[in-house]
């Protein structure tokens, strides 16, 4: 039954990708420094429309900064971001962002939170988004009466309501308990397959990255250290041998490369080529 459903959704995936709903995202030689602290250096990364890419990397390596640059909340020191071939303006209109703290307005009810910033008659659209995350029946409740997982689902609905073409997720599930997290992963995958937005997910959980992403990118010393496709069929099984091997491989790379900075490797290559 489940596999039949996944075949169906895969079929609709293929159909949907032809309509190019997600943005084509290109990050070109992007550098960002705060004062003289260089965070990102000459970073290149491309996401095809509708692609789901997960970014892993040690804390403080600049993952959030990268996402904020793509959202247009920070301006790059050099280099830039192309959305469907167009240079990114001040604020990325096609993008919606989700954070670890759900950033809901406690003084608005669930439905009003979901409709935040929407113009015109947004009610039905907001209700649709709440249905997507399975919380339509809580539309008129206060945020304070929801559990952590439910709040994160409201935040997801809020991100979905404008039918974004790029979804930026900054460790959105980091604060949830293990069971709720798996539920949310399924929900995100499900909605992504239906809506086909391009997705960039930051996570510190390598298993989560392998469960959800088409590609897993390891960020290290300001650049892309590893860019690994995940060729497993969806929905992915955690018990699967291939799955475990992939997780193992990425984890090892994260741990091994942690003391090697990119500059050093670059220097070594330089010396090597001089020889």
């Amino acid at each position: 039954m489940a596999s039949q459903l996944s075949i169906l959704s895969n079929l609709s995936n293929e159909y949907m990708t032809m309509t190019y709903k997600g943005v084509d995202l290109k990050i070109l030689e992007l550098s960002k420094a705060f004062g003289d602290k260089k965070i990102l250096q000459q970073l290149d990364l491309e996401l095809a429309p509708g692609e789901f890419v997960a970014i892993v990397g040690r804390s403080g390596c600049g993952k959030s900064t990268l996402l904020r640059l793509i959202a247009g909340l920070e301006t790059p020191t050099s280099g830039g971001v192309l959305i469907d071939g167009e240079p990114l303006g001040k604020l990325n209109q096609s993008a919606r962002m989700m954070f670890q703290d759900e950033r809901l307005l406690l003084w608005k009810r669930v439905l009003e939170n979901v409709g935040l910033g929407q113009r015109g008659d947004w009610g039905p659209q907001a209700l649709w988004a709440l249905e997507q995350v399975g919380l339509a029946d809580r539309a008129h409740d206060w945020i304070a009466s929801l559990s952590g997982g439910q709040r994160q689902r409201v935040a997801l609905a809020r991100a979905l309501v404008s039918q974004p073409r790029l979804l930026l997720l900054d460790e959105p599930l980091g604060a949830l308990d293990a069971l709720t997290r798996i539920e949310m992963q399924r929900l995100i995958e499900d909605i992504w397959q239906k809506q086909q937005f391009t997705t960039l997910l930051i996570t510190h959980d390598v298993e989560e990255a392998v469960t959800l992403a088409d590609r897993v990118v390891l960020l290290e010393a300001g650049g892309v250290e590893l860019d690994l496709p995940v060729p497993l069929p969806r929905p992915r099984q955690r018990g699967d041998a291939m799955f475990a091997a992939l997780v193992e491989r990425i984890l090892e790379r994260v741990l091994n490369s942690k003391n090697v900075s990119r500059k050093q490797t670059a220097n070594q290559q330089y010396i090597y080529s001089n020889n």
Binding site: L91, M97, G117, W142
Partner: protein, 259 residues
């Protein structure tokens, strides 16, 4: 089992047991002559004085005058404090320019200004309203400023991502986020409002509840004095109840006002 009172009724009645008991003891002590009526008249005597004042219409006149003074002082001081709090909470340049000065002025006890205020305005209403306004200004200012300052910056950033304009950010995020703190300021300010008025009216006035008390003192009408004091307490309690009502109405969303 046959319960006469349910739990809710007990919760409602319990706070009144001690005050009622105290008044009863007071009445008894006054009646058997343990307390001289010149020091403290019996509760019944105080009640009679109140009824007498009410029957001549004098009572309402004084209450009305005091309330009007309190309201004007509160409105003027509150608006100025609120406005300055918003300005300094939102704009860095304004905070840089004004906050230190306001903090310095705040350290002057406003009641210490009474002689100066009398020199400036005479003993008319303007001086009293001015004093109340000054007293009310600072708690409202501080709490508005802090309230705005402590609104989660992440929420503002989120608002920007969702395309809110400056005024939308203000009405939908900053102001409601600061509201719990602002209402704390309002409650403080209401207390200060009455306190200031009592002092201002007893020192220099020809009407109002404070005047009623001072006038009665000259004629040794202890019962009227006590009645005036109780009246202040009652009006203070009323103001507090209004502030509470405001909180429960405006902060329905707040976790501490739910369930």
């Amino acid at each position: 089992m046959n319960k006469i009172l349910n739990k809710k009724q007990i919760n409602l009645l319990a706070p009144w047991i001690v005050p009622i008991l105290l008044i009863l003891i007071w009445q008894v002590l006054a009646q058997i002559g343990w307390i001289s009526t010149r020091v403290l008249p019996a509760p019944i005597a105080v009640l009679k004085a109140g009824i007498h004042l009410a029957s001549t219409g004098e009572l309402y006149k004084h209450i009305y005058i005091s309330t009007v003074r309190a309201m004007w002082g509160f409105i003027i001081g509150g608006l100025v404090g609120f406005g300055l709090g918003l300005l300094n909470g939102i704009f860095r340049w304004s905070e840089l320019l004004l906050d230190t000065s306001i903090q310095m002025l705040r350290n002057i006890p406003h009641l210490a200004m009474i002689p100066l205020v009398i020199l400036w305005f005479g003993i008319g209403d303007t001086g009293r309203v001015f004093l109340v306004a000054i007293g009310v200004l600072f708690p409202i200012y501080i709490n508005t400023y802090l309230g705005i300052r402590t609104v989660d910056r992440g929420l503002l950033e989120m608002g920007k991502i969702y395309g809110l304009s400056f005024w939308e950010l203000f009405w939908q995020i900053l102001l409601p986020g600061a509201l719990p703190s602002i209402l704390v300021g309002v409650r403080f300010a209401l207390g200060i409002m009455w306190l200031t008025l009592i002092v201002a009216e007893t020192i220099a006035a020809n009407s109002g509840i404070g005047y009623l008390a001072m006038n009665a003192r000259e004629f040794m009408q202890t019962d009227v004095v006590v009645f005036a004091i109780l009246l202040y307490a009652l009006l203070g309690k009323l103001a507090d109840a209004i502030a509470r009502l405001l909180e429960t109405k405006l902060l329905q969303w707040h976790p501490s006002y739910q369930f």
